[in-house]
Symmetry: C2
Subunit: 207 residues, 2 copies
DNA sequence: CACCCGCTCACTCTTTCGAGGGAGCCTCCA
DNA sequence: TGGAGGCTCCCTCGAAAGAGTGAGCGGGTG
């Protein structure tokens, strides 16, 4: 355990990259081996730099942080990936953890807690930000939308009518209505507009 | 001009604070005199530390960065305030610039451009991130919603029916319909759901 | 002063939504 | 093998939403 933790930073904010470097390099047992600003770059740098641990933002310019993580974990299963982001609804957190994230931290966390979490995660424990965990617990057991339902809800957010959506997907309007009924019930929404609001808040979709 | 630029940082992400400090302290003509994590704290620190320039995030835990800026500019009109944020629709940028922001920068900006912008702004020029400016130009001349309209649209996003909104505001349902008609036209939306989507994207309201 | 604009309200009419039923098909998993 | 759940489709019906049109009031501005 004398080897320092080799960390790769993935974030498209240069200032934040800089901040992480500063905080992490302060710790004798950690070392930043590189920084990437995009998902694809992060995969390439994993190849080259062989980090033990990746600190990854969720929103990246090219592919989502979750997809980048999936790609990295597929090639290098021993690499631990920590999502470090500003906030996310329960849906994103769930997807991240299911996809094998070793941790889910918020950027609002104090420096000390972040380095401590990195240490814990590197030692094999799983860390989830208390705020995120509370949010998760609140939505525990809450149903998530199917792919089809998300597709449809996105169209709804764009102002399409059921009939138009049906036409786009080559389906019957009745089918769309049926999906909408399920969406409203799953999200606990009283109409399509609130359904979009809730879905965005919970990280099920973006606008 | 031998005095360094005294900078106050306002951001609720410790890591980003750290990053700004590192980048800025690298410059001989700049000095970070303090960091605040909330809007109220930023006002208090302005009092104590008398900075020349404030780097302010838009989203803060207590009050919005714009409101904090307004408060600061009211008390210390010579202090220049730069909004430094991840992104915002044209509505937020417009409000910020109207309220006297000296600059509007994005966190995705490279380090060099940020320090250069700080220098320019301190010298009296106004700097707006090219990406933001493009977005602004795109929406130039686009109508904005009145206060009443925003209030109503927020209720719409919560899934309230026209009748319910009318009751809440002690208005006629016909009045709400009339407002909705104006909202749809101003935003170029085909229905209330898309109106909410567009308003959120443009920074007119949050969910 | 006239004018614009935000806010208010009214009436009609068509379209759309969402609630209420039900049903068949598929796949995955216990 | 038997659910469970996702996807598809059908019917009815009342309640909303939105288009169309019109109008009065108050405040601010050229």
């Amino acid at each position: 355990m004398n080897q320092p933790i080799r960390i790769l930073i993935v974030d498209d904010h240069p200032l934040l990259q800089e901040g992480i470097v500063m905080v992490v390099e302060h710790e004798p047992d950690m070392q930043v081996v590189g920084s990437a600003a995009t998902g694809r770059e992060s995969i390439a740098l994993c190849e080259r730099l062989q980090p033990n641990l990746v600190l990854m933002d969720l929103r990246l310019p090219d592919i989502s942080g979750i997809d980048a993580m999936i790609a990295i974990r597929a090639k290098w299963p021993t690499v631990k990936v920590i999502l470090l982001t500003t906030f996310a609804g329960d849906a994103e957190v769930n997807r991240a953890l299911k996809a094998g994230a070793a941790g889910y931290l918020l950027k609002t966390m104090p420096r000390k807690q972040i380095v401590e979490s990195i240490r814990q995660i590197h030692a094999g424990r799983r860390r989830i930000d208390p705020g995120v965990a509370a949010n998760l617990a609140e939505h525990m057991g809450l149903e998530t939308l199917s792919q089809r339902e998300v597709e449809i809800l996105k169209q709804v957010a764009e102002g399409n009518r059921n009939k138009e959506i049906a036409h786009q997907f080559a389906l019957s309007e009745e089918t769309i209505k049926s999906h909408m009924k399920n969406i409203l019930e799953k999200l606990g929404a009283s109409d399509r507009t609130q359904a979009v609001s809730i879905a965005v808040r919970r990280g099920i979709m973006q606008l």
